[in-house]
Each structure stands twice: as C-alpha cells, then as structure tokens.
Point group: C2
Chain length 190, copies 2
Amino acid sequence: MSPKPMARPGGRSARVQEAVHAAVRDLEAEQGRAKLTVPAIAARAGVTPSTIYRRWGDLHELLSDVAVERLRPEEPPSDHGALRADLTAWARHFLDEMASPPGRAYVRDALLGDPDGSNAGQCSAYAAGQVETILARALDRGETAPPVEKVMDLVVAPMMYRILFRPDPLTAEYADHLVETALTAPDESA
Amino acid sequence: MSPKPMARPGGRSARVQEAVHAAVRDLEAEQGRAKLTVPAIAARAGVTPSTIYRRWGDLHELLSDVAVERLRPEEPPSDHGALRADLTAWARHFLDEMASPPGRAYVRDALLGDPDGSNAGQCSAYAAGQVETILARALDRGETAPPVEKVMDLVVAPMMYRILFRPDPLTAEYADHLVETALTAPDESA
DNA sequence: GCCGGAACGCAATGATGTTGCTTTAAGGTG
DNA sequence: CACCTTAAAGCAACATCATTGCGTTCCGGC
C-alpha cells in the first residue's frame, strides 16, 4: 500500500528509488511539469517504466511521494529566545515556502496522489512537529504556551486554506496577524 | 482558459456540456471513479473524445468542473433567529458535507484539475457567500458580527485543513468549538 | 557458496491522449 | 427570411502512455 515498501532497503532497490526521485527532480527543473511523464522519468533514471508502475502504481503517487520528501523540514525551527518571536519567524518561513509556486505545486502533488491520505497526514505531522518543538521550548523557558492543536487551527490552517483555495497573494503581515491571534486568544480548556 | 468558455451559450454547445456532465455523474455513480475515463464519458454522453479534450483539456479539468458544480450550495443557510445558532448550524452542515467520502472526493477533484486556481477560488467564494449571508442577517437583527474574513480563518479554514490533511474523523462538536472561538475572539481592528 | 524470493528488464498489447481536416449548426446581417 | 461567418463537433489517424506475463538478476539469509 505504501508507495515505498522497501522490503529490501539495501542495494538495488535503494539505488532505483534514489535514481527515480532524482530523475523527477531534474526533469521538473529542466523541462517543467508538463514533461513529467512516467516513461520520461524512467528513461532519465535508467529504469524501465514497468518498474515505476510496479513500485508506485502511477505518476501521481510517485509525485506525491517526491513532494512529501521535499516538504520535510530540514532543520528544527530557529530559536529567537521567546515564544512569540519563534512562532512568528516560523510562520513567516512556512508561508513563504508554501505559498511560492513550487511550494503550492508540492502541496497539491502531495494531496493528489494519496488514496489513503497518509501522505497528506505526513505533511501535517511535519508542521505539527515543528510547532511542537517551538512550544516545548517555550514551556522549558517558563513561558505559557497554547496547545499544539490551537496553533494548528489558528495559524497553520488559515495559511494553508488561503494557499490552496485563494489566488490572492499572501504577506508576512498576515502570518504575524495569525500568530498574534493564537497567542492572545482566550485559553479555553476544551 | 476557463473550462467553460461557452462563447455560444445556446443550442448544441449547451446540450453537449449538459450531456457530458450528466455522463460523469452517472458513470461515477454506477461504476465508481476508477472507470471514469474520457473515452468512457464521451461514449456515455454520445460525443467523441476529441470534443471533451478540446473543451476541457483533460480529465482532471473536467472532473474539477463537475466537482465545483456539485459543491455549489443549493440553498441559503437556514435562519435560526440568532447569529450563534445560524453559524453553528451552517458549520455543522458544511463539515458534514465536506468530510464525507464523496465530499472529500469533490474537494480533491476541484483542487486537482485547476491550473490557475480559479475553481478552488470558486469553492472558497461559495463558502464565503454563505457566511456573508449569515453575518448580514445578524447585523440586520442588530447583533454584532465578526467580519467574514475572521469566520473564514477561524471556522472554515480549520475544518478544511483537517479534512484535507488529517485522516482523523471529525465531529459536530469540533464545528461548535470553532464557532465558539470565532464569536468570542477579541475584535482586533487590524 | 548455495537457495528462495523479491525486484527489475524486456517486450507485446490494449487503452488513452492528441491533432489535422471536414462537417454541422448557432447567431448575426442585410 | 436567406445568407454568411465562424465557433464547435465529428471523424479518423497517429503518438504516447499504461498494463501485464515471463525470464533474468540480484539481495538477504542459511
């Protein structure tokens, strides 16, 4: 079911997977999405199309797979010494990444080829993990911090909604505004 | 660019469009999404595939088109005599519709075949329109009501985010909670 | 160093996507 | 009301892509 069963993590399987992922990245960068087709990717990766179909099912699942890997945060959120500063910086960064044309494309891909929703869930988990880190750091400092769910609802969700459903441009001020809302909202215990 | 140019609204064009849309609905109901292919739809609609490709570009754009039409609200939100009741009822209804398997499928389709984001924008506009109606009604009654944007950020966005990115089931209580948040949040003027 | 099984390559087949050319009919005009 | 223009649909050929059976290779374990 999972696109990357990797029943055999070592050796050829791993090489093929890496080659295919690299081929997707390269082709996309060089020729754009329109040229992203399974045979083209296979040729570029030095692999036969049937291999790709067998391992990933179809193009969308493969793209979803690659997109999720690209959406994985590479570093923990930067530490600015205070909750508000940390959250603001992270929200701005997140918005910047996700609202950019390539970012939007990755998010869409991740959602697209995802029969069971596990890839989309992974994306959400990445964001939640980053937020979690920030909040834990705040608690360590002795600050009061809202629960993760609240930040997801009040900061992450609105940004994602606008990215996906609205063509309008998004600004850093909007991210700031959302963080402000999350930090000043009443702490219901629900 | 738009999937439905309709430069000639009357006569054959309209009949073809309706026939194709109907074919999509029927085939989906009868044989499931897997069997939804352009040639099959064309055959069912009594049309040649090239007609569909020329008018809609590809299968995804056609499905997106159909999905948006299905997501259009058919009635104004029901009137319960008070803002809180109206918003709660609408949010529950919205969540119910969108979180159901067919609802999720429509939303995904709408997002999917949508190069310029106009279809997704339409979906958002539908929801905003419904909210707008509710808020205007409240103002007419003399109630104080939050701006539309606030309701979109605090109620609609979190629901959509969870629908799209999280596999977990969603409850009516969650919708209630979001409405509560939106109505009790401090009224910043920003 | 041998064995079992999973993954890959190859190649053929069927289905789908795409396009030039022709034909029909909608909508405007005299 | 007949004619003319032109968008849209039909037809048909072609290119490309998706799918599958079978043989081969190579990983992983004994």
